[in-house]
């Protein structure tokens, strides 16, 4: 039997979104029989990768707790949607990278957690490349140079 996990299914087949697009998705816990979910956290977020410390910001966040008073059944598929912001756009830089994803964190009994991610791109910024090895400036222009 497979390990318990959370399936995240984006409604759109394409993984690239534009600023202002609506991202909608469904998340489902599998297999249900083995799990006693306590809470589910759904986030649409970006984080940085690269040379620097990781920065993270949440654009959409929802926490569902499985208790009798709320009447929430975490075993049922959960749908959500959010309009994506204008920035920051996904970026594949040299020492700074910005990645967007849908992250679902499932809290189980005895403090166990299961985390699933579905990455996607926001915007169409092409990957960057280092112009010079270091920051130290030289007057050598790049391929974009255009003297007046």
């Amino acid at each position: 039997m497979s390990d318990p996990h959370v399936l995240i299914t984006l409604d759109r087949h394409q993984r690239t979104f534009l600023p202002g697009d609506v991202l909608s998705a469904e998340c489902r816990i599998e297999p249900l029989s083995l799990l006693e979910p306590r809470a589910l956290e759904i986030s649409v977020l970006w984080y940085t990768e690269g040379k620097g410390e990781e920065d993270l910001a949440v654009h959409y966040f929802n926490r569902l707790a499985s208790d009798e008073s709320s009447g929430v059944d975490l075993r049922r598929p959960y749908r959500f949607s959010t309009r994506l912001p204008a920035s920051p756009l996904s970026y594949e830089g040299v020492i700074v990278k910005i990645r967007w994803c849908v992250r679902v964190r499932l809290f189980l009994a005895r403090g166990r957690e299961i985390v699933s991610e579905q990455p996607f791109r926001l915007g169409h910024v092409p990957p960057a490349a280092a112009v010079f090895g270091r920051r130290d400036h030289t007057d050598q222009p790049s391929e974009h140079s255009a003297s007046t």
Binding site: H5, V6, L7, I8, L18, P19, G20, D21, E41, S43, Y47, T48, E49, G50, G52, E53, E54, D55, L56, A57, V58, F61, R63, A86, S87, P88, L89, Y91, G93, V94, I95, V96, I98, R103, V104, R105, G111, E113, I114, S116, E117, Q118, P119, G123, V125, A128, A129, A130, V131, F132, R135, H137, D139, P141, S142, H144, S145, A146, S147, T148
Partner: protein, 449 residues
């Protein structure tokens, strides 16, 4: 569509061997998915640390209250007045300082029962100012009667003076700061206990939105994590709409200056010793020879400071103005730049550049690394002379690439666009001045503005 688990999605090791995986796990960068820290263990350690600081503060506060502040307050407000006779007086020396305090042997009666104690005031404060203690001592004469105050619960406790003591209350600041630090940290740790990174980030963002003093809120709402324009559009230009402020950091000069001062200051001490030995006809040749390379480094550092100072201040002001701000990908903009001073230029170049900057911890140091990912020469002028009465002026146009990444700023990572003015000056250090500009995301790429 099956999703990937983060362990696979981020920082995946692919088909690497077990050994390589272990090596990268232990010696690779300890961030993101390779972070080996246990959040619970880390949180518990932090909580224990703050609890220890809090408890230490509470214990110290208790001691201060019981030993100093409460006795001082009781002496001023609860002690009962009576009359005493001064039998003896002296100045007590304490510590290795030494510190001094006046002390009087007094006799008084409470309910018909006589008491004799050595006292002056509560708390017993000493000072390194002996004349001040002597002055206090001289206020009382042996054999004469003076008013004194005794503790009604313990008549053997008495004071001869009960002036207001600031020390008795100021001392509470020390344990109070420990309590504030430990208590605040403990509350923070408990508040974040068991919360995911996303939940903490969401809570922090909500708290930031409530901040009434948050500048550039409108920009932050419309373009999250794009720097605002406040510093770039508040100065009107003379030729074009906006004059840009210089973004050239002076920290390099300050850092070099501090190193230079420290180095030469240290070396000069030994240099004086060596020079004195030569002057006294008892030359320290070993010290003199050893000092030579250190002196040379000091001279080189001084030359470096002068060079940087000349590069920063000697070339006269550079003015850069643009017609519109913020910039947009694919947008075309007019640029005016002027260079004042008295200089002969081999060349003067204006470029549009984009730098990535990352801040990271390496051991206990915080480092910043930068990479240039775009540069485009906008204008270049060669072999000309700038005179004080006639600054060099030029106007041109430039274009931001259609696929440019927008300006970005988060806590540790930055993408910044700049207009860079660089010049080769005859018999002068090279000129380099940067002027930050902000590139907004492309509104035509689907954003409903």
């Amino acid at each position: 569509m099956a999703s990937r688990r983060p362990g696979d999605a981020i920082g995946s090791f692919g088909r690497t061997s077990v050994l390589a995986r272990i090596v990268r796990r232990f010696f690779g960068k300890k961030r993101g998915a390779r972070n080996m820290r246990s959040e619970k263990l880390g949180g518990a350690s932090l909580g224990l640390f703050f609890a220890a600081v809090f408890l230490a503060g509470c214990a110290a506060l208790g001691v201060c209250l019981v030993q100093v502040t409460i006795p001082d307050w009781r002496a001023k407000h609860k002690f009962v007045e009576t009359t005493c006779q001064v039998l003896e007086k002296r100045i007590v020396e304490e510590g290795s300082g030494p510190r001094y305090r006046p002390d009087f042997h007094i006799r008084y009666e409470v309910g018909g029962r006589p008491y004799q104690v050595w006292t002056y005031e509560i708390p017993k404060l000493s000072t390194n100012d002996r004349p001040a203690s002597q002055a206090m001592l001289d206020q009382f004469e042996v054999g004469k009667q003076y008013p004194c105050w005794y503790d009604p619960f313990d008549p053997a406790q008495a004071v001869l003076a009960r002036e207001y003591s600031l020390f008795a209350w100021l001392i509470l600041i020390l344990p109070g700061s420990f309590i504030a630090l430990g208590g605040g940290g403990l509350v923070y740790t408990l508040f974040n206990w068991g919360k995911s990174a996303e939940r903490r980030a969401a809570m922090a963002q909500r708290a930031a939105e409530l901040d009434p003093f948050l500048g550039e809120k409108a920009v932050a709402e419309r373009f999250p994590h794009v720097p605002g324009l406040e510093n770039q559009t508040n100065s009107p230009g003379t030729r074009l709409s906006y004059r840009l402020p210089s973004a050239t950091p002076s920290w390099r000069l300050i850092g070099t200056l501090l190193i230079c001062l420290f180095w030469n200051g240290t070396v000069s001490v030994f240099l004086i010793i060596a020079a004195k030995s030569h002057a006294d006809n008892d030359p320290e040749w070993f010290l003199t020879i050893v000092l030579v390379p250190f002196v040379l480094i000091g001279v080189w550092l001084t030359a470096l400071v002068i060079k940087q100072l000349l590069a920063m201040t000697g070339a006269g002001p550079t003015i850069v103005e643009i017609d519109r701000h913020p910039l947009r990908p694919g947008g075309r903009y007019r640029l005016f730049f002027a260079q004042a001073g008295r200089l002969a230029f081999e060349s003067l170049t204006v470029s549009l550049v984009c730098d990535e900057e990352a801040v990271f911890r390496q051991g206990t140091n915080v480092r910043t690394e930068s990479r240039r990912v775009y540069t485009s020469q906008i204008a270049r002028h060669e072999r000309f002379v700038v005179k004080p009465e006639k600054p060099f002026e030029a106007e041109c146009e430039f274009e931001v690439p259609r696929t440019a990444m927008h300006s970005f700023k988060s806590e540790h990572n930055t993408i910044c666009w700049k207009l860079l003015v660089t010049g080769d000056v005859v018999q002068w250090p090279p000129l380099e001045r940067a002027y930050s500009v902000t590139v907004y995301p492309d509104l035509h790429a689907g954003l409903q503005s």
